[in-house]
Amino acid sequence: MPTINQALVDEFRAKAEAVNAVVREAADLDAALQYVVETCEAKAPCEMLAEEADAEKGPLGPNGVPTRVKRIVAAPCLDDESYAKLSAACEARGFSCIRSGLRGHLAGIDVGFSVADLGVAASGTCMVNTDSEEGRLAGMIAEINVIALRKSEIYPHLPAIAEKLRARMGDGTPTYTTFITGPSRTADIERVAAVGVHGPLELHIILLEA
């Protein structure tokens, strides 16, 4: 049984919330998947930022572009068993659940789900293995990015993860690692803070007990 350091969990939570991440707790991965589906249900329809031939389009969204009618949840990096559960739950609600072909939906999807390798308490950061292109896109083109993070995998600060990272990057095969700290943001116009300039409008982190 991996150990959980509650002080690190608390710090992680505080720092992630400080940068507008929504932080929730769940008993296990199944509960997190349930959260994904509920989040998708509750959100406003996804705006389609570009043309997508086969997609059914709804009324214009707040930014003057059409909205997507059939909601899309992407979870490219889930194991087969969990993916099957998520897929079934999505189907039950009329969403489509995908694990590949994200390039076909670059106009935007509703929810992208990933599981973090680890977290960094000092900044409320999730480190995500984004070697696969589909996994990378899920966290980029979704309006809401949901990341599950095991509480036992939270480290105090960046230097503390150097060895883990080194091991991951050391074997000569290409890797792509992403540290995520809050949603996409900018302050480029008059230094006014705004979220969602390119990537997700919202970041939700689900802290898993196991």
Partner: protein, 717 residues
């Protein structure tokens, strides 16, 4: 797009324009204040000084091993399917990138932020090749639409208002955009740029760290555009200066604890990516990214070999040196660098863009050291700027007035005779006051913002024989270093100090052979003369076996203490210079820390007194507590807003850039006025000159004095 002033008159015109830009002034003002506070808060969680020292050491080491790191990076990256190039010049780098585009049949390019790409002027080059290039960082995109260059390394569009942005977006989209709704304006970029990401064949990114141990490049962004740029297109080109090479992940992770904190007061940016190797890319038939890393030299190997300037390699491009620069705050980035902005911008302009572009820009540093105190790499930026001025002088030769000045300054007796003559010659203008009241305004022009001080009738050195106190069984034996301003303009400040010291059992000596400390000469790029006066001073004090060398001038103190051992490196006098420097102590620290004066030593008058922390006392010497405690001992200390911000004097700076000096002074006086104090004290006669001159001109009704005068007046007999 980018311009550098060729001469002073052109530059003064540009500065005037910037100073008239109300929006810019307000924005940068608000930013400066907010940044300072936010930075302080966010650094409380980490060991700021420790981390900065670690970065400095690691980057110095990387600089020394640049060639090995390059070879290692290349080997590791190639093993992972990446093509690694090295360009000696900007031209070569552009040609390599254009060739990559041609070979891969690229039509459209998307870019994420890269200062190195700005440096080599990549966009115009690629556009000439017929490519469509789109910036995807919001700020960069805005300035691209306006055909401007960035005015800040991290916030490239900070000089623009929402109205300007709304206009540009209206033009770009053909739809009227509402300027009042910034959130919506940001989403305009979301929609427009998503389409460009999708259509692009090649992505060009910058690189914050090139990690040799595994051939990884990294990007650091808040918007997430670099993730898109490096993921969607078939081809990825990362541009990295050779200075971005670091040996290990650990170095990058350490620097990442400082870079975002320093740049935008964030713990970490929203996204940091690490890419080692040509990873998966489904847009290519073989499912692999076509990935190139182009290292740019463009003068960097020359910098790496320079014993002094190699510290430039520590720069992580956080922009903090601009954020805290009082001159940047007034005139903005377009007037404070060619492509790179702020203190580091002045320096890099000299190395990357030619001495010609740097020669006027490099003069616009007031020397307040605010940048040095926040630099993520602990770079001694003010020193490097002074050094560049010296080099420019050496390269270009001295204009006649400078040659004259130099020969006068080398001869102390002549210099002092001239000053005494000036005391006599000014008589018609002073009418016995401390100001040169009656200089016709037309002679003053832009300099009329403050009353100019008069040279004292009798210099301190001439008063000394009659003044020199006898102290029986002294606790300490010290020598006083007067400095020109106090010796010849404000001798009463030195007299006050002598009174305080003698009353507390300190035997004081005033070595007659001392002369100007040489800082003004350094600021004017007169290195050979500044060395000469340094030698004279070291010799002048070497005879007496003093416990300390006391000075009341923070600028002299910081120069004597820190610069002498540097500029006399390799000189036969270096050991004496070091011993001398070790003894140099500012008046407040000596009185407070060494003599241990406390409230019981003073009659506290309760006079409301505020403080101006001279740049060279609070940053130059790191003295913060002693003067404030002493004021509170002798009077009612009321803190002043922006107490540690430069008053705009900067020695010769106020003569060279009076328009900027005047605005800095204006701010200082406003802040002093707001305290409601009837007196302001400081540890520097230069600041007294500036602030007293301004107070006099404005009729501020606040007494301006050196802290020694306050203490002498209120000392218990």
């Amino acid at each position: 797009m980018h311009s550098a002033p060729k001469n002073y008159s052109e530059y003064h015109k540009q500065l005037d324009e910037a100073l008239e830009d109300k929006f810019l002034r307000n924005t940068l003002d608000t930013f400066a204040v907010a940044y300072r506070a936010n930075r302080e808060t966010i650094f409380k969680e980490v060991d700021e000084r420790g981390l900065i020292a670690q970065i400095a050491d690691a980057k110095d080491d990387a600089c020394r091993h640049m060639e090995e790191l390059y070879a290692q990076f290349k080997e590791q990256a190639e093993k992972r399917g990446v093509h690694v190039h090295r360009a000696a010049t900007a031209e070569e780098a552009n040609a390599i990138i254009a060739r990559i585009a041609r070979e891969n049949d690229v039509k459209r390019v998307v870019k994420s932020k890269s200062m190195t790409a700005e440096e080599i002027q990549l966009n115009p080059y690629l556009e000439k090749e017929g490519l469509i290039v789109d910036e995807t960082d919001l700020g960069e995109w805005i300035i691209q639409l306006r055909h401007e260059g960035p005015s800040h390394m991290v916030m490239p569009a900070i000089h623009l208002s929402r109205y300007q942005v709304a206009e540009d977006f209206t033009r770009e989209t053909g739809v009227k955009q509402d300027a009042e709704d910034i959130q919506r304006l940001v989403k305009v970029a979301r929609v427009q740029l998503r389409r460009k990401f999708i259509a692009a064949d090649m992505g060009v990114s910058g690189c914050n760290f090139a990690i040799a141990e595994n051939g990884a490049v990294s990007t650091v962004t808040n918007e997430g555009n670099a993730r898109m740029v490096t993921t969607l297109p078939r081809v990825h080109v990362a541009i990295a200066g050779l200075d971005k090479l670091v040996p290990t992940l650990d170095v990058a992770l350490t620097a990442l604890q400082v870079l975002p904190r320093n740049a935008t007061a964030q713990r970490l940016t929203s996204y940091v990516t690490l890419m080692d190797g040509a990873g998966e890319c489904k847009a290519n038939p073989d499912g692999r990214k076509i990935m190139h890393v182009v290292f740019v030299d463009n003068g960097r190997s020359e910098i790496a070999r320079d014993p002094l300037f190699s510290q430039i390699f520590r720069c992580v491009r956080c922009g903090a040196c601009a954020n805290v620069c009082p001159v940047f705050r007034l005139v903005g980035g377009h007037k404070m660098g060619y492509i790179y902005i702020g203190a580091i911008g002045l320096i890099l302009t000299y190395f990357f863009h030619g001495h010609d572009k740097a020669k006027v820009l490099c003069q616009n540093c007031v020397g307040c050291e605010a940048c040095k105190s926040v630099c993520a790499g602990g770079i001694d930026l003010p020193r490097l700027i002074r050094e560049i001025r010296s080099r420019l002088t050496a390269e270009e030769g001295n204009p006649l007035p400078m040659s004259l000045l130099s020969s006068v300054m080398k001869n102390r007796k002549l210099f002092h005779r001239l000053l005494k003559y000036a005391a006599f010659a000014q008589k018609p203008f002073t009418r016995g006051t401390q100001f040169q009241r009656h200089l016709p305004a037309m002679f003053l022009g832009k300099h009329s913002f403050k009353a100019l001080p008069a040279i004292a009738d009798k210099s301190f050195r001439d008063r000394w024989p009659a003044l020199s106190p006898r102290v029986e069984n002294p606790r300490y034996r010290v020598a006083l270093f007067g400095g020109c301003a106090q010796d010849f303009v404000y001798p009463e400040q030195l007299e006050a100090a002598v009174k305080v010291l003698a009353a507390h059992g300190v035997a004081v000596d005033y070595p007659e052979a001392q002369t100007c400390c040489g800082l003004p000469l350094e600021m004017m790029g007169q290195r050979p003369t500044s060395k000469e006066v340094a030698r004279q001073n070291v010799e002048a004090f070497s005879a007496g076996n003093y416990d300390a060398v006391i000075t009341l001038c923070a600028s002299c103190a910081s120069h004597l203490k820190h610069s002498y051992p540097e500029i006399l490196q390799g000189d036969p006098l270096i050991f004496k210079a070091q011993a001398f420097a070790d003894k140099v102590t500012d008046f407040s620290s000596f009185v407070h820390d060494v003599l241990g004066l406390r409230p019981e030593d003073f009659n506290n008058t309760g006079e409301k007194t505020t403080y101006h922390a001279a740049c060279h006392i609070c940053r130059g010497l790191g003295v913060k507590e002693a003067p404030r405690a002493l004021i509170a001992d002798a009077a009612d200390y009321v803190p002043c807003n922006e107490e540690e911000v430069c008053c705009g004097f900067g020695g010769t700076y106020s003569m060279k850039f009076p328009e900027i000096s005047a605005r800095l002074l204006e701010k200082k006086l406003d802040n002093i006025r707001e305290t409601g104090a009837s007196r302001v004290v400081m540890d520097c006669p230069g600041c007294v000159m500036q602030i007293r001159g301004g107070a006099e001109k404005q009729g501020l009704g606040v007494k301006v004095s050196h802290i020694a005068e306050l203490l002498a007046e209120n000392m218990k007999k």
